[in-house]
């Protein structure tokens, strides 16, 4: 088994997932931060589900939904000719759902702490809603974005249960780091398991360390 192939696959999965998550979570977190609707609480609860749900439960339902006869997989296979289960695309969809709260919550907190005041000031200076968001809210929420990106990335790197259910272990396609480690252990190849585990441990630690270090060095922008 190629030792590095799961590493690249995992990094690719985490990167793609993080990019999609940042794009999807920005409007969602913004809405949650602003909304006074009672539905906001319902949406918040749904977003937070992956935090507490056993990954196997999420993975099980995703397996059904993404399969050739599933809610998402059905139309997808009609369109493309193949189901989403046991594919990289399927893994991305599963990872986005699985890591959603880790990105939405830091963003939501950042938006709440920036508040509406700078935004109103920008509107009074002729900035359109979109312009004001890009030029004022984004830079003032930068720390929230860094935290969200890192948590989303590292959490996706470490997922196991959902991937196992939805993606299985196809080398080069769905065999990510955590799965590879598990398989090395199963065949008693402790050396390879060690190499990958220590690598993952160090990488995650260094990334987190960098983030917390940056967060301490640069105080928030909120007044």
């Amino acid at each position: 088994m190629d030792l590095l192939s799961p590493v690249w696959l995992t990094l690719k999965l985490a990167a793609v997932t993080t990019v999609i998550l940042l794009l999807v979570s920005t409007p969602l977190a913004w809405w949650l931060a602003q909304s006074k609707s009672k539905w906001a609480a319902v949406v918040e609860a749904i977003v937070a589900l992956p935090l507490v749900l056993p990954p196997t439960v999420l993975g099980f339902y995703l397996l059904l939904a993404l399969g050739a006869n599933g809610m998402i997989g059905g139309p997808w296979s009609a369109l493309t000719g193949s189901a989403l289960t046991f594919t990289f695309t399927g893994l991305v969809i599963a990872s986005v759902l699985y890591s959603l709260p880790f990105v939405v919550q830091p963003l939501q907190n950042a938006f709440v702490s920036v508040g509406k005041k700078p935004l109103e000031a920008a509107w009074c200076l002729r900035a359109s809603y979109f312009d004001a968001f890009i030029s004022i809210i984004l830079p003032l929420s930068l720390r929230g974005y860094i935290t969200a990106a890192v948590l989303g990335f590292t959490h996706t790197m470490g997922e196991f249960g959902v991937v196992l259910m939805v993606g299985g272990s196809i080398p080069g396609e769905t065999q990510v780091l955590s799965i590879a480690i598990y398989e090395h252990v199963e065949v008693l190849d402790y050396g390879s398991a060690h190499t990958l585990s220590v690598g993952l441990l160090l990488f995650t630690f260094i990334v987190l360390l960098a983030v917390y270090f940056i967060n301490r060095r640069f105080p928030t922008h909120a007044d």
């Binding site: 000031a121 920008a122 009074c124 200076l125 002729r126 359109s128 930068l142 007044d223």
Partner: protein
């Protein structure tokens, strides 16, 4: 050119009922105690709050007419807003803060010159700094500059001095006064401090419990008996005067107004220049005969009684409105009213104990 606005909004536990008709020139102050709805009016004017039956017009331009479902968003209104707290963008330098609205103003609408605003507010030495390195007064001056450079057709100021201490207030007030001397932008100003209002206001709108109670020029409004109760012991007439002459040997300045002259301690102002004075009602007494050389009062003016307020038997004092060429409020004891038997039309003399200078 006038500014017209009507807002009628029911908030929970608070009804806003405002009808504004004020000149689109100089400084108009919404004056009233905290909780009177002044800031909410400003937010409605800015389009930050929308009421379903609002109407607003600046000169010929209608900004909101809900009877036709017409509503310009804040961005479309070409206004400047100075908030209670400076609300500078903390990630941008002072320069970038000032440029924010300026750059978003189309070139043909840039009627405020960059250098003019910077020099007027004396902020050119701050341009490279970040907002958190500025003092409160400096921050508020930058906020005013930022609003001006967005070249507004109407400038809204919500107690811009409230967060500043006395010294900083004294630092910023001259800049606000310069605004309407140097730039032809109408200002709507919110305040609950009479001292502040006296220094900068032309037109005053009195607000009580969400309603606009009275509108008028400050010199006229402050002499209304019905309104004086709102001001408590700060009630008194406001008179715009001019320096007539200095009496150097006595260290005095004579101020002239339509009804006569007032002595005040010598002012460092040249002859002919304007000076607004505040004559607190409690500092004005009344005599039926002209005191001859038997008094030390410098300011004794012929007066006619115009109106006597209905005495309130729970209070010892009563307000009298006199005419000395301009209206003048006096506060005398009920006992004095009883002995002098003052009635409208009666000739008398106003004895002015002290004159406060407003600007």
């Amino acid at each position: 050119m006038r500014i017209n606005a009507r807002f009628d909004v029911a908030y929970s536990g608070f009804d806003l009922k405002v009808d504004l008709d004020v000149p689109a020139k100089g400084v108009t102050t919404l004056f009233g105690p905290s909780g009177a709805g002044k800031s909410t009016v400003l937010r409605c004017l800015a389009g930050l709050e929308r009421s379903n039956n609002g109407y607003m017009q600046v000169g010929d331009a209608v900004w909101q007419d809900e009877s036709n479902s017409y509503f310009l968003t804040t961005q479309q209104r070409a206004l400047g807003y100075v908030f209670q707290e400076p609300r500078l963008f903390s990630h941008l330098s002072v320069q970038k803060n000032l440029e924010y609205g300026y750059k978003r103003t189309p070139k043909n609408e840039r009627h405020v010159e960059w250098d003019q605003a910077i020099n007027m507010l004396a902020i050119d030495h701050l341009l490279q700094r970040k907002p958190h390195n500025l003092s409160g007064g400096e921050q508020q001056r930058v906020a005013i500059g930022r609003a001006l450079l967005a070249c507004p057709k109407l400038l809204l100021m919500d107690e811009p001095l409230a967060s500043l201490d006395k010294e900083r207030k004294r630092e910023v007030i001259p800049f606000i006064r310069k605004l309407h001397d140097e730039l032809d932008i109408p200002v709507i100003y919110v305040s609950h401090s009479l001292e502040e209002v006296l220094q900068i206001t032309d037109t005053m709108v009195l607000m009580r419990e969400g309603e606009s109670v009275a509108t008028g020029h400050i010199t006229q409004l402050c002499s209304e008996l019905e309104l004086s109760e709102y001001l408590g012991d700060m009630s008194g007439s406001v008179i715009d005067t001019r320096v007539v002459a200095h009496e150097e040997e006595f260290g005095l300045t004579r101020l002239g107004f339509d009804g006569g002259e007032l002595y005040v301690p010598q002012l460092p102002i040249e002859k002919g220049h304007g000076q607004r004075v505040h004559l607190l009602a409690r500092n004005v007494g009344i005599a039926l005969q002209k005191p001859q050389v038997t008094t030390s009062f410098l300011n004794i003016l012929e007066a006619t009684v115009v109106e006597v307020a209905v005495p309130d038997i729970t209070r010892h004092a009563v307000q009298i409105k006199l005419d000395i060429g301009v209206p003048l409020l006096a506060n005398i004891s009920r006992k004095s009213l009883y002995t002098l038997r003052l009635e409208p039309g009666q000739k008398c003399y106003a004895l002015i104990k002290a004159v406060s200078l407003a600007r």
